[in-house]
Symmetry: C2
Subunit: 185 residues, 2 copies
Amino acid sequence: MRDAIATQERLLLAARRRFADQGFELTTVREIADDAGVNVALISRYFGGKEDLFARAVAIDLQLPDLSAVPQEQIGARLVEHFFRRWEGEPADDLLRVLVRTAATHPAAAARVADIFDSQVRPLVAMLAGDGEAAQRASLVATQVLGLAYCRYVLSLKSNELTRASTHRMIGETIQRYLFAPLAA
Amino acid sequence: MRDAIATQERLLLAARRRFADQGFELTTVREIADDAGVNVALISRYFGGKEDLFARAVAIDLQLPDLSAVPQEQIGARLVEHFFRRWEGEPADDLLRVLVRTAATHPAAAARVADIFDSQVRPLVAMLAGDGEAAQRASLVATQVLGLAYCRYVLSLKSNELTRASTHRMIGETIQRYLFAPLAA
DNA sequence: CTCATAAGTCAACAGGGGTTTACATGGAGG
DNA sequence: CCTCCATGTAAACCCCTGTTGACTTATGAG
């Protein structure tokens, strides 16, 4: 019954959900504790405080797929597919939504996004498209992928719900261009 | 010296700056009042409260350019150019930044973005590309433009600062595709 | 069974936030 | 010059939030 580790995990889960839905500032530690079914004071006890709980909640790995066996001309489509699965997977995965939403106002989350970009996205792009232009190509990819996430999962602009297949295709082609098309000034 | 209208405008200006930099929740009415050089109580007196001041601060017009005389093949580039000017204009125009940042957590701002999308972006796209697929094409454009804004002006990911010319070009081509390329499922 | 300790609870505190109320002040019309 | 009202000020109010410290309860080892 009394399991400290399980309690911490319930708190982390509830925290991610709340932060993903409401952002950092609007979420109160009492809400999180109630969702988790535990006492508020345990947040301070186990994590140090709200900030520390948040830091733990956004320590996220993109889990980028292995693309070594994918033909080059399919990579864009494959990446988009991967992200849609990540965003809409069952059970609903708040891991990325919490980042995109909170990064808008919380410096730690913004720093985490920049960090993920540097340590996960850019190396992958460098491997795919060569070192020289990797940073810029990765930036372009980031604008499109984060923009998609922002519109769909933060703002909930549902205007294109019906035609996800062609959204897939159009955005996959964009990623493909950002990765491999010439960048001529 | 005592000019109620001028005071309200100073408050609105200060509010937009603060909201654009910090978002809604982290901004205090005392900060805004101090920036404007007026007393805090005047915010409640003139606007009703912080929420109402915010609503006034985000009542924004995109001022989309007239594209009737622009050759079709240049429209994407022209739109990107327009947005860069809007974002980086002198004096710094917080009008759009405040929306993209605050929409992440504040329902009123998110609603305003959706409203701008419906009343300004979609009609323009419909005019350019025909009514049938306007909604979906406009959504695609929104993901790319908002993503660019989010990365550059909210997160301040500066990785591509050096090569703005080709960023312009690459993203312009994307917009062009989203507007005119076939959407085949 | 006992009891030491980890796990969890409770209530209070301190700070900051938006808002309101009562008061002061300046400037135009009589 | 005086008066009245819009403009601006100062201080208090009240609620909410994160945090803390003292207290209680369960659990497992001896």
